[in-house]
């Protein structure tokens, strides 16, 4: 029972943090908000996840959550990878500009 309370506290804390985050558009905020609310629901009523799992042909609720969290994490990792690549491209432009300005030619 105690672990449940711990999870609830963390999720509620995260919800408040999310509401206070200024640099996030409403759509993203909304999606994460719904996600956290669903998580909260499953923490309070773990049996409901099993009900949902049965609907989609997975036998246990935890298994369904396990699959979904993997997909989500993969998506997040990929999104960050693309972001990193774009940042790298910008860095390249910056370094090139700097290098061209400082180019030294024969004495």
């Amino acid at each position: 029972m105690t672990f449940k309370f711990f999870l609830i506290a963390v999720l509620i804390g995260f919800l408040f943090y999310l509401l206070l985050l200024p640099r996030l558009d409403t759509l993203r905020k909304g999606v994460i908000f719904l996600l956290v609310l669903t998580m909260l629901l499953f923490v309070i009523q773990p049996d409901w996840s099993t009900t949902v799992a049965h609907q989609v042909g997975v036998s246990r609720g935890v298994d369904l959550l396990f699959y979904l969290s993997h997909l989500l994490l993969f998506f997040v990792a990929f999104a960050y990878y693309l972001k990193f690549k774009k940042m790298e491209a910008r860095l390249t432009k910056l370094v090139r500009q700097l290098a061209l300005e400082r180019a030294w030619t024969e004495p």
């Binding site: 990878y81 690549k85 370094v95 290098a99 030619t105």
Partner: protein, 233 residues
Amino acid sequence: MQATDPGDVLDAAFVVVPAYNEARVIRDVVEGLATAFPNIVVVNDGSSDDTEEILRGTPAKVITHPLNLGQGAALQTGITFALKRGAAYVVTFDADGQHRVEDAVSAVRLLAAGGCDVVCGSRFLDTASNVPPMRKFLLKAAVAFANATSGAHMTDVHNGLRALNRKAASCLNISQSGMAHASEIISQLRKHDMAIREIPVRIVYTEYSMTKGQSSLNAINILFDLVIGRFLK
């Protein structure tokens, strides 16, 4: 049509040499090139050795990336610089001494004679280049990939020796900082309908160039970069 005087042709060419930690050989490479080409641009790609110091006093113009970005990025920097300086022809030439200056000269001469926009070196058209078997297999796979995705008919795409006229060099906007740039260059040239020709060039596989060259395993990274590159378009 008679081509312009060969001397003038080489004067209008800029040789771009991307260099990363090549202190041991870069001076010889630059001095070799200087016997034929007046305009040599070395892009020192954030080397941690004394590549830059060694180049002082050589005829090379040196551009130094404050950070190491990769060979593709270095090439683009050098090409941008050459075009700004009014280059009529841009030659790319590896810094590790695996190319021969006379091959670069014949590439520019062929380009100047007209009939094509790009001349690429091919080690597979040359019978004397002793390409190690594993290397040959991977290079051939890269060629097959580049031909399939760009519709080109090349025999060698990962060859550092290329000569481009101004029009072709202006088409390039290399975004693949790493080694995937070789395929990217071909696909960008093809997209702009540049006429590409290949000439046989000798690759000198020295012990040094073999250790400096890419590890064969890098082929996996290149493929990955090319696939990811499509997502970023």
